[in-house]
Symmetry: C2
Subunit: 413 residues, 2 copies
């Protein structure tokens, strides 16, 4: 309804538009600029959103070429930005009250905690990368063996500094900022960890869910924009049932075919382990069962069909991505209303901040993590071997004899 009215309005008042154009020409503006000025605000927003949606997709596709390292860096940067967006909301209130000047280490301490938790969650991975170059470096080994201890020690330093810089009259503010920052750090660091687990297992399980949510976001927006008339939830007045259902139908269809398409590329489906690759990212392996076409018989129709098993998993993602993941968006909308924000930030024109854009991705990522662990568990045999060979020899002998007797009983030794 709104769309039509706006269009009618633009057509019904040609004089105004012409006047605007004349005005524009006087300002020395080009044709495109004039066309832009004559657009209704809703269409302007549509174009800005579209252009920046394609820009983001382009960045994403380019980053994929960089392989797991590039993707991890992208995830890390998104994490940092998300934390910053949440933390700065808590600052805003106190900055307005002119308090921060009096608060010691107001911002530094929060960023110190971000650093400590980043060191904890990324440090080991980065150190494993160093192994590629120098397996026996003493300092690297030291950092690896004492990784948790160092992280804890660094955190304790921050904790003690926090307690020592507590200032009378500011206790409540300081504790609130501390709690707020910790919630943001824990939330986004955990989510980042989930996401990276998928990257490590294979890029396929990282890209597919992201594309699922992107597809659902885009088509829910398009269906809502052109057909939307029934409001879905009071938290997000712009969201409609038409968008919700249209997005879901397209997403399910898209994911069913896209999952099969992606499964053909070794770069997508091969596990990464700890290999570092040059640009462009390449990888080769025998694809696992889940990426091998399998004949499914449809007993009732007395016929069958070839499918990649991963297509069936992908359908589960499509349903979650269009049915449950939007609640991540509703949650974010409610949060923005609670703290009277339009957007979390204005980083991406037409889309808002990182959290505005990725709100549903975060929920999706947790689901994928849980789903993969439950239904597609992967054992990192290299890591397991390393662990076993690090055991005391008597433990190794015990494990060896137990494995031998099991394999003997199966007639495999």
């Amino acid at each position: 309804m709104e769309v039509r009215n706006r269009n009618l309005l633009a057509k019904a008042e040609p004089d105004t538009v012409v006047t605007n154009n004349v005005q524009s020409e006087k300002d020395g503006k080009s044709g495109i600029s004039r066309m832009w000025d004559s657009l209704a605000p809703k269409w302007k927003n549509w174009w800005v959103r579209a252009v920046f949606a394609f820009t983001m997709i382009a960045i994403f596709v380019l980053t994929i070429q960089l392989g797991p390292f590039g993707l991890s860096l992208l995830v890390f940067l998104v994490q940092l930005k998300a934390i910053q967006e949440i933390v700065s909301i808590s600052y805003q209130k106190y900055i307005q009250q002119n308090l921060p000047q009096n608060l010691p280490l107001f911002r530094s301490l929060n960023w110190y905690f971000v650093f400590v938790v980043s060191y904890y969650s990324y440090g080991l991975t980065i150190q494993h990368l160093f192994d590629e170059f120098d397996d026996r470096s003493h300092i690297n080994q030291l950092f690896k063996s004492y990784h948790l201890f160092i992280s804890f020690f660094l955190y304790m330093v921050g904790f003690i500094v926090f307690v020592l810089t507590l200032k009378k009259g500011f206790y409540k503010i300081q504790f609130k900022l501390y709690g707020w920052a910790h919630l943001a750090i824990m939330l986004f660091m955990t989510l980042g960890h989930f996401i990276l687990q998928s990257v490590v297992s294979s890029i396929y399980w990282f890209i597919l869910p992201i594309c699922t949510v992107i597809c659902n976001d885009i088509f829910a927006y398009i269906f809502g924009f052109f057909l939307g008339r029934t409001p879905l939830i009071s938290l997000s007045p712009k969201k409609t049932w038409e968008g919700f259902i249209g997005g879901m139908v397209v997403t399910i269809l898209f994911v069913f075919f896209f999952s099969a398409y992606l499964a053909q590329f070794p770069t997508m489906v091969c596990p990464i382990s700890s290999q570092v690759s040059a640009f462009p990212y390449t990888l080769n392996c025998t694809p696992s069962d889940v990426f091998t076409p399998t004949y499914y018989t449809l007993s009732q129709l007395d016929t069958g069909v070839y499918l990649y098993p991963c297509q069936l998993h992908a359908l589960v993602f499509a349903v979650f991505g269009s049915l449950i993941a939007p609640f991540g968006g509703f949650f974010a909308s409610g949060f923005k209303r609670a703290f009277k924000l339009k957007d979390f930030d204005d980083l991406i024109p037409g889309h808002g901040g990182v959290i505005d854009r990725f709100d549903c991705q975060f929920l999706m990522a947790s689901f994928v993590y849980v789903y993969m662990i439950t239904f597609l568990p992967q054992t990192d045999l290299e890591k397991l071997t390393r662990m076993l060979l690090d055991l005391p020899t008597e433990d190794q002998l015990l494990i060896h004899s137990r494995l031998s007797s099991n394999l003997n009983s199966l007639g495999l030794l």
Copy 2:
């Protein structure tokens, strides 16, 4: 100074005391009751604290007799109480504003999240206990295989209900309560997990740190009470340098000898694995190296001494427990001041709530967890074996051949 003044006051005004006594006799009070009434408030507090300190120690010692199961239950109850204490602070403010009547599922949702996280962190352990009785029960296996998935699903139900019950005008309150509850749940559930890891490895590493902090608490209080005159930190005006240092000296001495004493009992030092034991708790094993007296040569003195290696680890705990763990207490004090609370609760007369009593224990527990993982890692060979035998046979064969070649190269096969 304060102590003396109060005593002087009591002695200098005998008339008042006598008058009080006469008053008491008229009320028909007994001799002890009269003595109690005549005590200065500080001494009353001292006696209440002492009696309930001993009560708590008694409960603790009795629970030890119940073995790991009883201790886990105790830890769980303490966790629940601590979460309740924090969560109810956030309620208090809104209850005063008469808002909660209008808020749907005000408390239920928070307790639902507590339930979900408890199920997640304790569920697997409890299901392993069931294995003792029936290893092949289908439903139990189902719950075990899908544990993470079920937990996630349960959490999502709570999350969606939260979003759907968001009520206009209450957004900010609802999000604040949600965040507050999540901080409390995550904090205490993580700490509980740390503590239980020590219980499982052996009761020794659970009891020793707890006794370290208890010892430090008691002697810091006693030294502060009798000798304290130099204030330590403005957050806790009752704490003094004399108490801090006195507590530390006694704790280091106590822990050095107590750690050797405890190391003699198999019940203390044997790993628990998944055994369930009857009351009273018994266990037998060959103690590991850390619990076996070792000869340490002191090269400079040209002599040596027999020590349990665990005594040296215990000294590290003593230093942390008396130097760093008190910051947990300062943090809690600051928090109470920030939210204008005297105590977190009045559960334990003279001591306050569970958090008041265990503030330093929580910090100690995290340290012990990190320390154990770093310096005294234990491999659960049973769990490792189970994991290996669950692998696909080709993976088992691969692992077997790698183990064989390693043991061959060491000349052990």
